[in-house]
């Protein structure tokens, strides 16, 4: 009962074996096929704009999980956590998708911009109009120094390089410990996790600003990336629970990861669901209360924009409030729901779906904004693009999302090699023996 230490079960299958390569073999082609299909089948009258928006949404979704997994690894070291040691290798491997994810993001988001397609970001389009802009829109013109495609591309590469470096360093050091069992490596990672998490936080804040908030280049909210991070952590804990369970279904690490660890993942999922709602409401209430035109447009369109039913953004907003916060919050409140794995898995899938809706809700209405070149005024949805940005084309974005998840799972598969547990981590014993009281 009170034993604080255990060793790995003698029958445990710790090696990943062919699990990763099989996953990659199935997921990667299916994912690529879905994205290709969406590329060909999208609403044609808007060019590739709708595809690009859906691609950005999908990419931000998989970024959420990889970025959150990196955070999971670093906070584990920083807090000198014990319980999460058995989950850490899986998270390390998910974070290792970063260089590949960066390439996928670059190809779909940055490269078209450099190649002369200016549909995705309005500030990018504004650059093609820069002479007129100086006269009609000082507000945006003042920001075009930061928001220019070359600088943007450079920053994107820098962000991905930082994520990749952190992911590689922690995974490499952790795997070196598998060989040597040197406890000094744990200390090394703990010391590195402090500055690492600072760099990570800054990088994540700017990813949120650059990739998502700049879709509405004149609108700003300083808590925006914090909220995005909250959503990313929801997705991360949900994905970790589902993925670890899937690995266990293949007979691997079945004795090491117990209901106690899932219970803790459920607690963190619960906590970050509230954190997400807290930051989302903080952003909303200040903007709603101050009611300043340049700020309130963001919520004005999401509360009153669009039509009825699926195409009314107010319905999406209310659905998000209920389904990403209220329902999972109440469901996860009790101890037993987190300890019955089928229930926890169902809530995790639910949370992942609604994290995508959260991103969709953030990206799509923003992209529908335009500016009248004659008056410099915000005209709401850009002429001609209004229809494509209405949610009736949501199936198109869902298809891209599923494709991107397939590609991501493929990447994760290629990273699942060697041990699935940090077998010689000094904290592994306490983690194996971990119990919630």
């Amino acid at each position: 009962m009170s034993a604080g230490h255990k060793t790995i079960h003698p029958d445990e299958k710790v090696k990943a074996g062919n699990f990763g390569s099989q996953l990659a073999k199935i997921a990667l082609p299916l994912g690529l096929a879905a994205i290709a299909a969406a590329f060909l089948l999208g609403p044609s009258h808007t060019g590739y704009r709708h595809f690009q928006l859906g691609y950005l949404t999908a990419w931000m979704f998989v970024w959420s999980i990889a970025c959150g997994s990196l955070f999971f690894v670093m906070i584990h070291h920083l807090a000198r956590a014990r319980w999460s040691t058995v989950l850490r290798r899986v998270a390390e491997n998910i974070a290792l998708t970063f260089p590949l994810l960066g390439v996928v993001g670059f190809l779909g988001i940055v490269l078209p911009m450099l190649a002369g397609n200016h549909d995705l970001y309005y500030w990018d389009y504004a650059h093609t109009q820069s002479h007129e802009w100086q006269h009609v829109d000082h507000h945006l013109a003042g920001k075009l120094g930061w928001l220019s495609s070359g600088f943007f591309a450079g920053r994107f590469v820098l962000y991905m390089a930082i994520y990749s470096f952190l992911a590689y360093w922690f995974a490499k050091t952790s795997k070196a410990q598998d060989e040597s069992g040197d406890p000094k490596l744990s200390e090394k990672m703990r010391i590195a996790a402090g500055p690492g998490i600072l760099v990570f936080a800054l990088t994540t804040v700017f990813v949120g600003f650059d990739l998502m908030m700049s879709l509405a280049p004149k609108w700003y909210s300083t808590i925006y990336s914090v909220n995005l991070f909250g959503g990313a952590m929801i997705a991360t804990y949900a994905f970790l629970a589902i993925f670890t369970r899937a690995v266990q279904r293949t007979g691997r690490i079945v004795h090491s990861v117990t209901v106690e660890h899932y219970h803790d993942l459920g607690k963190l999922l619960f906590g970050f669901i509230f954190f997400w709602a807290y930051t989302a409401f903080s952003q909303f209430m200040l903007i709603w209360y101050a009611d300043i035109p340049e700020e309130v447009v963001f919520y004005n369109y999401r509360m009153f924009g669009g039509g009825d039913g699926l195409s009314g953004w107010a319905n999406w907003s209310i659905a998000l409030l209920l389904c990403q916060w209220a329902i999972p919050y109440v469901l996860l409140l009790s101890r037993w729901t987190k300890r019955i794995l089928p229930i926890l898995m169902a809530i995790s899938v639910w949370a992942l779906v609604w994290h995508w809706v959260d991103l969709y809700w953030n990206i799509m209405p923003n992209a529908a904004w335009g500016v009248d070149l004659e008056t410099g005024r915000n005209t709401g949805p850009l002429t001609g693009l209004l229809e494509a940005n209405q949610p009736q084309y949501v199936w198109h974005s869902v298809l891209i999302w599923l494709g991107m998840v397939g590609v991501f799972l493929g990447f994760v598969g290629t990273r699942m090699k060697g041990n699935l547990l940090p077998v010689k981590d000094p904290m592994l014993g306490p983690s194996l023996a971990f119990e919630n009281y």
Binding site: M1, S2, F281, F284, M285, W288, Y289, D291, L333, S334, R335, E435, Y437
Partner: protein, 437 residues
Amino acid sequence: MSTSTHDADNHEHGDAGAPAGDKPEGGGELYGVLAEFDSPGALVKGARKVKDAGYADFDCYSPFPVHGIDDAMGIKRTILPVVVFGAGITGTGLGLLMQWWMNSYDWPWNVGGKPTWSIPANIPIAYETTILLSVLTTFFGMWIFNKLPQVWHPFFRLDRFTKASDDGFLLGIEAKDKRFDLDRTTELLKKAGATAVEPCYHDPDPAKKQMPKWIYAFIAATTVMAMIPLALILKARASKSTQPHWHVIADMDFQPKFKSDNAFAAFPDGRANRGEIAGTVSTCSPGSPRPCDHDRHVKSDTAMYQGIEGGEWITGLPRSVEPTAQRLARGKERYDIFCAPCHGFDGKGAGIVPARVQKLGGAWAARDLTDVGAGVVTMPNGQLFNTISNGFATMMGYSSQIPVDDRWSIVLYVRALQRSQNATLDDVPADQRGALR
């Protein structure tokens, strides 16, 4: 068993009559047995054995929480979370009700044009009241469910029991348990791994069998004393007093200084005021009802600063005020800012402030500046200037907000408004009269 040592201890201690561990001479009633274990693990194992033997009236005592003891003792999970959830929901409801009652029902309060009953603004308070009630319920509920504070217990008669707050892991079985039998229970505990078992007898004195009376008296006295401040507050709210308020925090309410026109015996004339000093010039001119403007300059030009010349309101303009189109435009701008909220942009007295008063059921309207019968049209310029400066009836003076020069510009613009609202066809240039028809 260390019977001899603990007997010796008890005899030394014996201020409460007979030693508790032995059958006392006076015939004290048996309360139960207390067993000591040498480690938390042994205590958990022992508790499980006692539970499995069918005992219910027993408890464990340890210096720190022992993980797994609840399960070993067969204690069910607490229902405290359910109680706290109910309290939290109640807190939300009460918080919302309070805000509705305060801001929307009892004293409708317009903040920034928001509805008096608007949920987003009420969420933070409701959030706080939710936490407040949850936390208080958690805290006091924990006390109540644990029967705390427990200031007296029959086991206090045993010296061994003090080890429960130091290094002892104790298990006590009460004699009232159905299965209790001194010899068999002692035997069971020894088999369950106890290092020592001793019986505990009540004091032969029946008065010392329960909690000492003075503790009840103390609780009653502190409860009554805690009510005193509340009673004083209630009395203060329900009664009237001719005495000044208590000044708990004096701030700068009482200063060693004199206000105007107070008596002060130390000066020969008996007045605190010192009057004008010979050879200096006053910034205020005598003869006006409220001669002092807020800006402190010498104001010999009474036409400019008071609208008075030779004791009469001036009908023209002060010498330094030129009736130019530029000044008229300035007057319009200032009028639209300071005057239009009440008098309306057209001067007819239908501004947004009277509109709101009427909407709330009030009967007040601002003066119509353009109606000949209302008196403002025939008012001399000087009097109009004075009204702007010092106010009239419910209108407050604007001398602190509008500089003198701007006040004259407003006078000029009000004249233009009056002219335009009372214009005849003759006022229109002859060549443009056709356009009006």
